[in-house]
Every structure is written in C-alpha cells, then in structure tokens.
C-alpha cells in the first residue's frame, strides 16, 4: 500500500523524465543509425555515422585522428577546469563556512558570489575580451610597467583564456555543494579534534575533506558535464580555433546532418556517463545525501 502511494507521488516526475529525457534520448539513439541527405533524414540501419567518427582512429601509422584529438583536447579542458574550480571553490566555501562567523555576513558573501550569474554567460565571456586582447587592459598595463616589451598574444584566443573563462563561469557550481556539505559538519567534531591536539591542517585533511566528499563529487559532476558538452565558451574564448565535440555537433546540426550529430552525441553521452560512473565509485552519493 505504502509502496503504491509513493509511486503515485513520484509519478509526475517519472512522467516528466519519460517525456523530456528518455524518449528524446531513445530517438537520438535511433536517428544515429539513419542515413541522411541535404534536406532530409532517411530511416535506415547503417553504421556509417559511427564508422566515420572513428575513421583512421585505429590506424597507428598515421597521426591521431580528429575524434581522438578532439576528445583529448576536451579532456584537457575538463581536467584543468575541474582542478581549478575545485581549488577555488573549496577555498571559498571553506572561508565562508569556517571563517565567517555571523550568518548574515555568510549569506551576504554567498550572494555576492552569485552576482556574475545575473548576466548571461555569453556577456560574462565577452567581457574578458577587452581585458585580455592584444590592445587590452592587461597588455597595456604590462607594457606600461615595462614587464613585457611586446603585447602578449596568448592571453586571448588560447587554451589559457578558455580555462580562465571556465573557472570564472563554473566555480560557483563547486562552491554551492561544497558549502552545503561543510555547513552540515558538526562543529563539535572539529572542537573534539582540537582538544585532542590536532592542528588546522590535520583537521582539514582528516575531517573536513572526507566529510565534504559528497559536495566535491556533486560539484565535480556539474563542472565536468558542462565542460564536456560546451562549445560556446571554447568557441568564443578560443577564437573558434580549438576543437570541441559540442562544436562538431553544432556544425553538423546546422547543416541538417542530424544522424551524424546524433551519433556524436551518443558517444559523448557514453563517455560522460562513464566518467561520472567512475566518480560515483569513490563515493555513494545516494547514501551521503
């Protein structure tokens, strides 16, 4: 009886999940096996779309194939953005949770962190361009102080600018879940550790980090899934010269090569799910919530 009741309570969510997630996903998988021409997609069952993605990928005499190269570059962005958003996010959350004593100030500072989100992410990205450009503020400052003799070009339209933008955009996604985990830590545990003679560093390593693991994993999932599928940030900050899977999918979609785009999307999905699966091996999120 109880079971049935909870089923009905959950039913609306199941329905939404079915209509807006499962069915589209199944359609994407089906279409990825279809054929296509300039203006229509043709029901079929072919592996050509997948075969093309891995074309030349297992021929070791040649260079790394486009698909592997693109994924390697995406992984690289993913790793760096994850690392830096984690370091920044953890530090900020730690400061908010343990060094700011009054609740009012905590909330105020937390809200300040969200201010960048009042504008769209494209505007947040574009605002870097006058700062980092060849004739931008950074370069003019460094030139005027004599630190550099020529304008530095790697500030903008480079790996550096892409990672910088990712950190700027997504650190909040780390702060929120980690901050949440930290607030749940019972202060008396930390006091007990002090009493037992632990120093601040030992408390951080042995108490706070282990207890923040769920927050860290949730934040990491946010950042990694967003970065894996991103093409706008890499496009704008990388000057559209850096590859991303999202950009390939977008170009294919705009030329109505929907089955090819679907095949790419399916592979991207599998890889992203695999990464998340590995992360959940480290921590059982369900149990920790």
């Amino acid at each position: 009886m109880n079971n049935r009741k909870s089923f009905f309570l959950a039913a609306p969510f199941y329905l939404v999940f079915l209509c807006f997630f499962l069915i589209p996903l199944i359609l994407t998988v089906i279409v990825s096996f279809w054929d296509y021409n300039e203006y229509s997609i043709i029901p079929d069952f072919i592996f050509e779309n997948y075969a093309y993605i891995f074309n030349n990928c297992f021929d070791y005499s040649k260079d790394v194939c486009v698909t592997f190269k693109t994924y390697l570059s995406t992984f690289y962005f993913c790793f760096l953005s994850w690392l830096f958003t984690l370091l920044a996010g953890f530090t900020i959350a730690y400061f908010l949770a343990f060094h700011v004593k009054s609740l009012g100030l905590q909330i105020t500072l937390f809200l300040i962190c969200t201010i960048p989100f009042w504008t769209s992410n494209v505007i947040r990205m574009v605002s870097w361009i006058p700062l980092l450009g060849r004739n931008g503020l950074f370069n003019s400052f460094l030139l005027s102080t004599g630190i550099i003799d020529d304008p530095q070009e790697w500030f903008l339209y480079s790996h550096f600018s892409v990672v910088l933008a990712f950190i700027h955009l997504y650190t909040l996604f780390m702060i929120v879940p980690i901050f949440n985990s930290m607030l749940r830590i019972d202060k008396s545990i930390i006091e007990a550790a002090y009493d037992a003679g632990a120093n601040g560093f030992q408390i951080l390593i042995n108490i706070i980090i282990p207890l923040c693991k769920p927050g860290i994993v949730i934040g990491s999932i946010f950042v990694i899934t967003v970065v894996m599928g991103d093409f706008i940030t890499i496009g704008i900050m990388g000057g559209q010269q850096l590859a991303s899977i999202g950009k390939i999918i977008q170009v294919e979609m705009s030329y109505l090569q929907l089955p090819a785009a679907a095949a790419n999307a399916v592979i991207l999905l599998i890889i992203t799910i695999f990464i998340i699966w590995i992360m959940t091996k480290f921590i059982d999120i369900r149990k920790e919530l």
Binding site: E38, Y39, S40, Y52, V66, G133, E153, Q241, V251, E252
Partner: protein, 427 residues
C-alpha cells in the same frame, strides 16, 4: 425596491443596454485587446529571414504605404534553411539565399513564385536573369542565381535552364564580398586574396567559420596563391576539397589565424579591436567598424569578388489571402523605397530603376556610379559613412558586380566538405 427593479429589466431593455455598453467600449478604443477583431482588418505577415532586410524603418514605412504589419523572425543563414525544412508552417514569407536552393527545391517545401504577379519583374537586374552586368557575362562559379532561378512549373522540384513563368526566389538583395582590411595597421596596398595567408599577417588574419561560405573564400585564396586552378570553385571534387583544406590546416597550425568568426558582430569586434587586420568580411560589418571612427576598407582584389544573392519565397502551404498579402509585400519591396534603403547600406537592390528614383542624385553617384561624394554620405539611420570627396571601395556597380568571380555555393560534395572543415577546426 428590488422587486420593482427586476420587473423593469426586461429582455429588450437588457439587449439595448448591452449594445450601448459594447458600443461605448468599442468607441473609446478599449477593444484593442481582442486580436480576432483587429486581425481581420490588418493583414499581418510572419517574415522569416536573416536580419539583412529587417529594420524598424522598413516596418513603419511598409505599414504607412500598404497597411501590412510584418512580424520578423530573424535567424542565421543555416537556421533559415533548417526552419524551412522542419517548420514550414511557422512563416508566411521567407527571405533565403540562392545557394540554399539546391537543398530546398528538391524537398518541395517552397512554392514556385509567379513572376506575372510581380509588377517590376521586367526591371529585375540582368545579374539575376542572365548572369550579366552591363551586357558583360560575370563569373558564374558556384551557385550563381541564374542557375537556380527558374523552375519547370509552379510546383516543380526541378530547375529549368530556360526562362519560365515560375522562379525559386524573387530577387531582393545581393552584393559582392571581399576581404576587409585595416589600412592604418597594414600600411601598404593589398591587391590579392593571397594576402590572407601571407606570413606577414601571422596571428592577425581571420576567416569565417561558416563552412559553405568559408570554403569559397579559401578557394579564392588558394587560386590566388597559384597553388591550384579550380575548374569550378563552387563545386569541388573530394580531391580539391582535400587540397584546399590542407593548405588552410597548415596555415592554421602555423598560427596564421587570430580567430575564426561565425557571427557578424564577432567580425566587427575582431577588426575594431585590432586583433585582426585582414579577414573575410561582410559589407555592413565594414560600415559598423567605420561608424566607430576606425578606418576599415572593403578591399577590391584583382581576382574578383565572391558574390551572394537573396530573395523571397513562400512556403508550399501558402494560399488565399495570406499569399496575396505576401505578393503585395514583395511588390512594395521592389517599388523603390526599400531599394534605396538597401543601396544606402552598401548592398544592391534587385530593381535598380525604382531605387534610383528614391535616392538623391549625389547618393546615387556615390553608391552606384563610383563617383567622389559631393557631400557627406549618411546611412539610413543618419550616421556618417563617408566624407565629401571619398569614393566607395571598389567603385561603381559595374566595377564591383562586373568583377564577380564566384558565388556562394552548395556543392555536390557538401557532406564531405563540412566534415573536412570540421577537421580543420579540430586540427
């Protein structure tokens, strides 16, 4: 008291007072909230297209002249095509490019346009109908409009080589595109497409990241460098695509390009900020850079221009009153005011005879004849585009359109080309 009242409210009285009330409301203009009543009087068009022909002034002028209200649906070139194919009922009229026709016509999603309903059809420039400018045949590599203009019948899915009554698109606007440069930063004359890959501009060049247009610019560069002479740039073989992409991939790896752009505004920012000094560019983008007070030239090059052209079509579901309104709109569009509006932005109108009547003679001399401006040249919004004495980049209509080398194109190997382009971006 209530008893007395209820007796007085007879059915007749009731109707009388209701009518009076409705009349009062209608009279005082309160009824505007009912679109059903309103729409029956005001013809409305849902107009799908790129932003080129859309603007507040044309919208106002159209309503003044014809009483037609237009609702703009603005999308990128590729998305316009996608919308025609996937949502043919979401618009009443579409403004598309000729190079999309090889994709759209076989799908049957557009209606053949009846030229007999177009008043100015006889005055459409010969660049469309015959591929000639001032009697001289111009370059027709790529999807030149004359190749995809005529249809075999109203509902035909095939192109006709000979003129017929039915056409794919009623031409509206077109232009000849070339490279944009920053003369103040380059400080020497530029005369060939090959300069785009000149190592002198390493890290300061850009090309657009829209494969179907970018490949044409790339082909102009490859040919100008003397690497290869294409039989038809607009319809490359797989080998030719490989060759073109190889040259550009090597240049990209060597750091030739500062960035690629896919949005009009990006090209403006790249140029205005000085990040890029030479790049493929569109005419209104040059205007936008100049109106910031930054020198920018739409450089004519000896190999010629890459041209594009757009026109109006109706969805295949169009009929009755809605179709009549659309034709009325097209006739208005070609009747002169709009042509002048387009010419003043550096584009060309498909019917020049009517546009001329709507322009001052000094404007016509500057934009069309290539003569020095006898007074300051203003944009339709009143911004200064050129000072007295200046000459339009590339000169007269005959000089510019007469030197067209190729047109934006859809190739037979389009699928392969898009893949190769993606590979270059990823390299």
């Amino acid at each position: 008291m209530s008893k007395k009242m209820s007796k007085k409210i007879t059915r007749r009285n009731m109707i009388k007072s209701s009518v009076a009330a409705v009349g009062a409301v209608a009279g005082s203009g309160l009824i505007t909230g009912f679109p059903a009543i309103h729409a029956a009087g005001t013809p409305t068009l849902r107009y799908l297209g790129t932003a080129v022909n859309m603007g507040n002034e044309p919208e106002k002028k159209l309503f003044e002249d014809t009483g037609i209200k237009v609702k703009y649906i603005s999308k990128t070139t590729d998305d316009v095509v996608k919308t025609i194919l996937t949502q043919p009922n979401s618009f009443d009229i579409v403004d598309s490019e000729y190079f999309s026709m090889p994709k759209l016509v076989p799908s049957g999603s557009l209606l053949g346009m009846d030229t007999k309903k177009i008043k100015e059809w006889g005055n459409v420039v010969t660049a469309f109908t015959e591929g000639k400018v001032a009697g001289k045949t111009i370059g027709d590599q790529g999807t030149a409009p004359k190749k995809v203009l005529y249809l075999k019948g109203a509902k035909s899915k095939e192109f006709s080589k000979d003129p017929t009554q039915y056409v794919t698109l009623i031409p509206t606007v077109y232009n000849a595109d070339t490279l944009g440069i920053r003369p103040d930063l380059i400080k020497r004359p530029i005369s060939t497409w090959a300069e785009l890959l000149n190592p002198e501009f390493k890290g300061k060049a850009s090309i657009l990241n829209i494969p179907s247009i970018g490949i044409m610019d790339a082909a102009m560069v490859v040919e100008a460098m003397g690497e290869y002479k294409y039989p038809d740039k607009g319809n490359m073989t797989k080998k030719e695509i490989d060759l073109t992409m190889k040259i550009f991939t090597e240049a990209k790896k060597a750091g030739q390009f500062r960035a690629f752009w896919s949005d009009f505004n990006e090209s403006v920012n790249l140029m205005a900020s000085g990040e890029v000094v030479i790049q493929s560019m569109w005419s209104p983008a040059i205007t936008a850079v100049r109106s910031q007070g930054i020198p920018c030239v739409y450089q004519p090059l000896k190999e010629g221009y890459r041209a594009w052209a757009a026109g109006f079509a109706l969805p295949s579901t169009a009929k009755g009153r809605q179709a009549d309104i659309a034709y009325e709109y097209i006739n208005w569009f070609l009747s002169g005011w709009m042509g002048a509006y387009l010419n003043r932005q550096g584009y060309y109108s498909a019917v020049l005879t009517t546009a001329e009547k709507n322009m001052k003679s000094y404007e016509w001399d500057y934009w069309m004849k290539g003569k020095p401006a006898s007074q300051d040249i203003l944009s339709p919004t009143g911004k200064k585009l050129a000072s007295k004495g200046e000459i339009r980049d590339g000169g007269s209509y005959e000089d510019r359109m007469g030197s067209v080398a190729c047109w934006n194109a859809t190739m037979d190997e389009n699928k392969y080309m898009v893949r190769k382009w993606n590979e270059m971006i990823a390299s």
